[in-house]
Symmetry: C3
């Protein structure tokens, strides 16, 4: 399970300084990498570690290549983005280490005769695939997953064990859905009548682009009439809730426990810290970055970083600040009162002089 | 798949103005509905859209019926609550469009011989039904769901794929449980002994009324000794956590990511915005409305709307306000000091005059 | 299903006053317990209830034993920690009431021939166990659970229905995993390249100690290179998210909806209230207690109780306090201005006098 440096260059690019016939067997951090491993320098602070590294080869930028002297004796791969290069190289090593996937449908799986499953796909034990569903080439649908009626799964997409992908939903190519993800459950839509709730059928779909990853136990609801849309390259972590009719722009990433209420429209290239909450029916521009535990209650038409959580303190200190916060209007009144009094005093003074 | 207007009136009520023999094939928004579709006016702001609508028929109130002139030429259905009427009509269309459900037990399902499953129920692939469980008439238990020993599922209840409904729990009629919902896992109960936690067996049940809907990946824990109770008509969205021994009053609705700690007692007709958090052992009155991302830390004996989240700002502004908030006690001390000084100054002034 | 008091003492310790041959059939609260039941006094406020109890036997401390007079006529079990004693006694009753578990592999389960499953283990319907996995003595793996390639499950561990335990992860003895728990999904790790995210393979494991309980629909991600570690006796409630490479110290407990970002290192004997959020890459000392709904954004080197959530109010009051909070910097400026003015006035005064 070794890769020649020359093969790495041919597949992933980069300029090689050193012996292309050298074989590397894995990737490791700078201070740990041994003489058959490759490492990477993506943070200038670690330059000293890089210089002292025993790695067989180092992935680094042109600039760092110039700064690291001959004390580092191994090979070098120069590339504009060493971290991305590392990620791709690690993917390759992971592919080599992965157990082989045998195409075919496990005998315990229940696949409707009208479903179209590519011959190269691998359907695991206890999977259910309903009528008219489509599973593309080289897909992996792991144990216990469910694909609803008329749903469509693009080529090379991988459902880990126990994913639910409901009727008529669509996902593109190279997607990854983790265990417990539920795509296409009903949105939360009701009409109120005398206090009781009358269900509004949710007849839209979830439509997911290419290269999307969705984490464990994350839910994405189907649209009410129109669709919920997740564009290419979006990455959702675990335990996330996406309400019906949301639209999430390409390459946006959300950390764990984020909640997005229905019909929110989120731009491209955004990031959301863990447990950020987004109100429904608002619009968020491209390149917005929301800090963890922040509630976004209105639209954000401008890119930027937005934050709003209560800074923690010792419980005793918090008790005090929270008590004052509850009475902030009184404090403001006192300040106003004081301003008036002082103004009067200053005026008197002037008159006196 | 068309419905005559007269049939709609016979089933759902309302006064019809227009041709009862007209057939409609679906429901659409005012600006989109075509001449075979029905639409509804539930918001006075959309009156102009209604007037210009091409819909075959319009659901509207008596008052709006009077305000919309002959420029709208289609049929009209007058009803006090057009939105609720729309919901019921949409349900009917959805029923017509739904694939037929064939009663019976899929051969891959594992049903204990002592379980009683109604002949009209539909048990999907890879379902497990344990001993002494009961599944009522016209239930649908979809692929991979689990029904524990002695649990009871009322008529017309629908478990989507991969629901867990644990031993001895009970749900009434017409319930809907979405994929990944876990009803009746152990509550979080431990005795502490020298720092370590000793498990307290959770032997209560979850008892759920009629017409309850529970979202994807939501958890409702069983009671410790007594039961966790969810009354009729409650609607829980996705990713919600309901702790042991909670009691949720009828027709209360909770949006996604809400958490309710153990033994909270919540009234009827309440609503909770997304990610609202409710402390344990508190009581919340009927008709309480909690805003999203709000932590309710003590009982609410009065109806009303309650809110408490940190208003977001640009990260830089938040940094400033958070820093002051941390020092709010100092700010209050300065204000007090100032008040004293000013009072002294004012007193001196009086003495002078 | 009765236990003699003498048998209880022999198994769980404590000093018995009364008839050891007496048989008790269950445990109940002080005011409810009947003459064949046992009860416990763990809170001095309930002393009057204890005195008046009809319980067959009472678990209590030495001190309370002295305070409760002959008006309570039943037997007494004296122990330093009555609540922990109650928990253990309740466990015993629960064991007696539990339906028998028959060892063996259900015919619908799919177990790879290379997996080693102890003969005393009970593998339920529709379980999948992948190659080279190991399931220890007396384990219970309930319906629809998944155990990945090379994973290892220690003796007496119980997976409830529909648990996912992914490849190469390890759990010790006497663990309890609730339905929907996902252990060992990929951590959320990506390199950014021109806005798009490149996946970093997650090749670490989740390594879990003995006596760990993990709640329904909780996710614990596998490490990127190193492992995610959960030490002995940790208790995680439902709907929790633990990011990759976290380390959670022994006997720490987390309530529902907590989120812990990647690489956080949390001490022993900590507690986290519901929906507490922990930033990544921080270190939290032993014996830290975090209040519900609190965001911990930096390391906590000292034990103690920490809090930080916005205190709720009526919506109208919150609107006011939030508006002031947004302008807290202005308020501080006004205060400073006022201080200067007042100082000037006071100085003038002095000069005058």
């Amino acid at each position: 399970m070794a890769i020649r440096l020359q093969a790495l260059i041919e597949r992933l690019g980069g300029q090689l300084t050193g012996d292309g016939e050298l074989e590397v067997t894995g990737i490791a951090p700078l201070d740990v990498a041994g003489p058959t491993e490759i490492s990477f320098l993506s943070n200038a602070k670690l330059r000293d570690q890089a210089s002292a590294s025993h790695a067989a080869a180092l992935i680094l930028t042109e600039a760092e290549h110039g700064r690291i002297g001959p004390e580092y004796a191994g090979a070098r791969i120069v590339t504009p983005n060493p971290y991305a290069y590392f990620a791709r190289a690690a993917q390759w090593f992971a592919e080599l280490a992965a157990p082989p996937v045998t195409p075919g449908i496990h005998p315990s799986a229940v696949v409707d005769p009208s479903a179209r499953v590519a011959a190269t796909a691998c359907i695991g034990p206890h999977v259910t695939i309903e009528a008219d569903a489509h599973v593309g080439e080289y897909c992996r649908i792991d144990a216990g997953s469910y694909i609803g009626r008329g749903a469509s799964v693009g080529a090379h997409t991988h459902f880990h064990a126990r994913v639910c992908f409901h009727a008529r939903c669509v996902i593109g190519e190279r997607g990854i859905l983790h265990s417990g993800a539920v795509i296409g459950a009903d949105g939360f839509g009701f009409a109120n009548e005398g206090g009781a709730w009358i269900k509004i059928p949710q007849t839209g779909r979830v439509v997911i682009g290419n290269d999307v990853e969705i984490g464990a136990n994350t839910s994405v609801d189907r649209g009410a009439l129109a669709d919920t849309v997740i564009e290419d390259g979006v990455k959702l972590d675990n335990q996330i809730q996406i309400g019906h009719n949301c639209h999430i722009g390409a390459h946006t990433a959300m950390a764990g426990c984020v909640g997005v209420a229905g019909s929110a429209r989120i731009g491209k290239y955004c990031t959301f810290g863990g447990a950020a909450m987004i109100s429904g029916h608002i619009t968020i521009a491209d390149h917005v970055h929301v800090t963890a535990a922040t509630m976004i209650s209105r639209s954000l038409p401008e890119p930027g970083k937005y934050t709003g959580y209560y800074p923690f303190a010792s419980d005793a200190e918090w008790e005090k600040s929270a008590a004052i916060l509850r009475n902030l209007t009184k404090m403001r009144s006192r300040l106003r009162e004081l301003e008036k009094t002082v103004e009067r005093l200053a005026d008197n003074k002037k008159e006196e002089n």
